[in-house]
């Protein structure tokens, strides 16, 4: 997709510490609209903390976050969700006892306009609204992610790879402008990794979605293949930012990954 030069997400010198541990030390970066922006770094570098700050689960002690020009640093997570920021979790956070469809519907909750009373009667406008949402879920999400066969299955009974896909489905139900993906490929087998990478590209490139993706991932092969830009963190500090080849060549990055240096260059092809 043709990148617009418009900044969608701007993170400015955020600082976050848990007691004596400094998780993020004045990290700044900008994500452009329509971009796949990856954040890499060794374990404990602060990648997930950063995503938690962006979607509002954590509030940084210093610094500001802007989304489409508006400051969102102090907003609650649901307010940010309403603005179009959605995310998936590294450890699957689904409702394991309910069906796939119900989990996805829940991601759509924020767009429901009817109240409790009219919802319980299910008549006229309410019924129409519900059918519209179901239509959206079927056409845009279930078809895209190829999960027709598990639509009515209980999430907890599904294999891990499919649960990851449901997690992504729920995040999409929000109809996000930007989607924060926290290690979507962890624990998947080779085929599932390729599927998931394809879905991320679809979400980013299909005209229907054109969602900006912020990707936290350890699978360097995929990161370097699909990202427009990459940022590297180490112990809460930003050590590099640029296109995949630039970051790969950066001496700081190689140093941070010392011992893992070869892995950085391994691609899947």
């Amino acid at each position: 997709m043709a990148l617009k030069n418009e900044v969608q997400l701007k993170v400015q010198e955020i600082y976050m510490a848990f007691g004596g541990v400094q998780a993020l030390m004045d990290v700044s970066f900008e994500v452009k609209k329509g971009e796949i922006f990856s954040i890499i770094g060794p374990n404990g570098a602060g990648k997930t903390v950063l995503l938690n700050c962006i979607n509002g689960l954590y509030h940084p002690q210093r610094g500001q976050i802007y989304f489409e020009g508006k400051e969102i640093t102090r907003l609650k997570p649901y307010q940010r969700a309403k603005m179009g920021i959605s995310r998936t979790f590294q450890k699957i956070e689904l409702f394991k006892g309910t069906t796939v469809l119900d989990n996805i519907r829940l991601g759509r909750h924020i767009h429901l306009k009817t109240g409790l009373i009219s919802g319980s009667i299910y008549f006229g406008k309410t019924a129409r609204e519900e059918i519209e949402h179901r239509d959206f879920i079927e056409r845009e999400i279930i078809d895209l992610l190829e999960i027709e066969h598990i639509r009515d299955k209980i999430v907890g009974m599904l294999p891990y790879g499919l649960q990851k896909r449901v997690e992504l489905a729920r995040a999409l139900a929000l109809n996000p402008k930007i989607i924060l993906l926290d290690e979507p490929l962890a624990g998947l087998n080779l085929e599932e990794v390729e599927d998931m990478a394809r879905f991320i590209l679809d979400i980013n490139e299909e005209e229907r979605w054109q969602a900006t993706c912020v990707l936290v991932e350890h699978d360097m092969g995929v990161v370097m293949d699909i990202s427009h830009r990459v940022m590297a963190l180490n112990f809460g500090e930003k050590i590099a930012e640029g296109t995949p080849p630039e970051v790969q060549k950066n001496p700081n990055v190689i140093k941070a990954y010392l011992g893992e240096a070869e892995e950085l260059y391994v691609t899947r092809r």
Binding site: E138, D143, L144, E148, H149, R198, E205, E207
Partner: protein, 644 residues
């Protein structure tokens, strides 16, 4: 049977073609009847005959604008969906010839068939098929255009050989506006003796051969089948088996267009079983593996059920089996057995049938490969009218069939009307009917070998029993000569063993050998579950298959089957293979028949191991994935003896 009256036989002349009949049906039903349904986005979407007609017209006219002419070949590949059937019908309307490929064909197979058939046009489903086309197009210079259907993932493709089905239909619509009546004219030009399908058979030994079938072949076959089992326009049929299999063409095209029943297309291949249950078809035709899978599902659920449910099932099945055996031996069923069977039906069989999607089934057939007697009895025990079909692609699908009141599970029934079946002095099954094919495409020698004086030589060995039923022994070249000189059909052993839920595939060996042995492919899902329940840890198929506990499990199953066999045919040793047999590795045909000559060569180390004094075989080989990746495997396999 009340439905007999509603079926009207049509007159099949040498002038009648499938498109002419299609035209007749569309005029008759127009927007008053649903021609097909497809489940999409979670909803069954009906398509009337009018829409069917309009779509076929647009595609046909669009195809002619792309340069398709009478007699040209159109190759098609992809899952079952309305678009696929429209394209096939459109190609026939133009007067060209349809060539179907299995959707999971590897690049080399696709290239061979596209090139050998001289296909000018290729119609594929989506990105996967487009990728295959782009990889072979330089090696298939006759291929001019590739039409794709599903836009998913297609945004980055701009090769000039590609065109979307939507685009083709748009072009067709404009042609129709300019020249109304052109479509009907094209159809009227067709004659019954024109070739309509070029069908590549999945040879168990050599390269695929392309059988040429005419409209007359296809229509007479459908009619003669329906003279035995009439289908009516209110019937439902689920189209989910590959169109590249003649059995699916026979139902969806030749019978479908004559009976006018509704075709139902599942949402995705993975949802087919669920969708079948939603539809509840009246008619079904599938190869044995589909039924084997159904039985396995029931057996696995049984193993998992509570004590009381297991007892109820055992009791009901005992009754069912008894009644079924009485029916098979054509004995009168006493009233008390009928009463008991009714109770068993209400309590268990009815629910089983519903879960298998067979609650409304009237006629269901198995064909294309051998089915074991145990599977066969199972379906009759739960009250499913399962019948054997025997035929070849070369006779448009079917020549022999069971009759409703005359079912014997060790035979394939009697010839359908207008069909003669004989046995040559050498024991080969030969047949003659109006549906016998016209020859192989570009293979005159093969044609003269198979087609002699109008008789189709099947290459199968068999005999006709005292009641006139045909018994198919096996492929002539597969029949084994045992130690004591008796002839024995390996597929008998194989299908018997496959009744065990733990065993997915079997290869029986014993031709001119001192004793009989077998190579077993365990069912990963079922054995995996079995192992988990017993806290046996494993990480992969190769590891699981070599577990001592799993060997014991398989041994028990073989001992059980050995009991019913003559001493000389009993399996004496076996090996659990480290992988399942796969068509991608050339071990099976695309219709999942074992390619014996090939596996014998590939696994000659295993065969040597089975006939020597070792209990270990070392294997060094490769596995091919669908995308062409090849993985090297080195492993040791245990050889186990079965106590006699």
């Amino acid at each position: 049977m009340s439905h007999v009256a509603k079926w009207e036989e049509i007159e099949i002349t040498k002038d009648l073609t499938i498109p002419k009949l299609f035209l007749r049906s569309t005029k008759k039903y127009w927007d008053k009847k649903v021609a097909m349904r497809e489940k999409e986005f979670g909803i069954w979407i009906p398509i009337t005959w009018k829409e069917y007609y309009e779509n076929v017209k647009r595609i046909a006219l669009g195809m002619t604008s792309l340069g398709l002419e009478r007699g040209d070949k159109v190759a098609m590949i992809g899952d079952n969906r309305p678009g696929a059937l429209w394209a096939e019908m459109a190609a026939m309307c133009v007067g060209s010839v349809g060539v179907w490929l299995f959707q999971d064909s590897l690049i080399d197979e696709v290239q061979y068939i596209i090139d050998h058939s001289d296909a000018k046009l290729m119609v594929g489903e989506g990105q996967e098929e487009v990728d295959k086309c782009l990889m072979i197009k330089d090696r298939c210079p006759k291929l001019q255009k590739m039409v794709w259907d599903d836009p998913k993932g297609m945004r980055g493709y701009d090769d000039p050989i590609l065109i979307s089905l939507k685009e083709v239909m748009k072009i067709g619509e404009e042609v129709d506006k300019k020249e109304p009546g052109l479509f009907e004219d094209m159809i009227l030009k067709g004659k019954g003796d024109d070739i309509c399908l070029l069908f590549y058979t999945s040879g168990t030994s050599a390269l695929p051969k392309g059988a040429l079938l005419t409209h007359y072949n296809m229509l007479t076959m459908g009619q003669n089948l329906m003279r035995v089992d009439p289908y009516v326009e209110t019937d439902d049929f689920v189209s989910y088996l590959p169109f590249a299999w003649i059995g699916e063409q026979m139902m969806s095209i030749s019978c479908g267009i004559q009976a006018g029943f509704t075709l139902n297309f599942p949402e995705e291949p993975e949802t087919a079983q669920e969708n079948i249950r939603e539809v509840g078809p009246h008619v079904m035709f599938a190869p044995p593996r589909v039924y084997e899978q159904m039985v396995r599902n029931v057996q696995v659920k049984y193993l998992d059920a509570s004590w009381s449910k297991r007892k109820a099932y055992e009791f009901a099945m005992k009754i069912g089996y008894h009644v079924a055996d009485l029916k098979f031996s054509k004995k009168l069923i006493p009233w008390y057995w009928k009463a008991l069977n009714y109770l068993a039906y209400i309590g268990v069989h009815k629910k089983l049938k519903d879960h298998l999607g067979l609650s409304r089934i009237r006629d269901t057939y198995t064909g294309g490969a051998a089915m074991g007697p145990d599977h066969f009895r199972f379906f009759h025990a739960i009250g499913v009218n399962l019948k054997q079909i025997y035929g070849q692609t070369e006779i448009a699908g079917i020549s022999v069939l069971h009759r409703d009141d005359d079912i014997k599970f060790d035979t394939v029934g009697k010839p359908i009307p207008e069909t003669e079946v004989k046995i040559t002095p050498e024991g080969e099954i030969i047949s003659k009917s109006p549906s016998v094919f016209q020859g192989y495409h570009k293979m005159p020698e093969e044609t003269t070998k198979t087609l002699r004086d109008g008789w189709l030589h099947s290459g199968d060995t068999g005999f006709i029993d005292t009641e006139g039923h045909l018994v198919v022994f096996d492929r002539t070249k597969d029949v084994m000569t045992l130690n004591d000189g008796t002839k024995f059909a390996p597929q008998y052993l194989e299908t018997r063993l496959k009744f065990s839920p733990y065993i997915k595939d079997v290869w029986a060996i014993g031709d001119n050998k001192p004793y009989v042995t077998s190579v077993i492919c365990i069912d990963y899902g079922v054995v995996g579950k079995w192992a988990e329940d017993r806290n046996i840890a494993y990480t992969s198929y190769p590891e699981l298959s070599q577990m001592p506990e799993v060997y014991e499990l398989v041994k028990k199953e073989i001992v059980k089957m050995n009991k019913d066999l003559p001493p000389v045919a009993k399996i004496k040793k076996f090996v659990n293979l480290y992988k399942e047999f796969d068509a991608d590795d050339d071990e099976l045909t695309r219709t999942r028949k074992l390619r014996r000559a090939f596996v014998e060569d590939r696994y000659k180390d295993i065969v040597n191991g089975l006939y020597s004094n070792t209990n270990n075989v070392h294997m060094d080989t490769t596995i091919t994935y669908e995308d062409g990746r090849v993985v090297h495997i080195k492993t040791d396999l245990r050889v186990m003896e079965v106590p006699q």
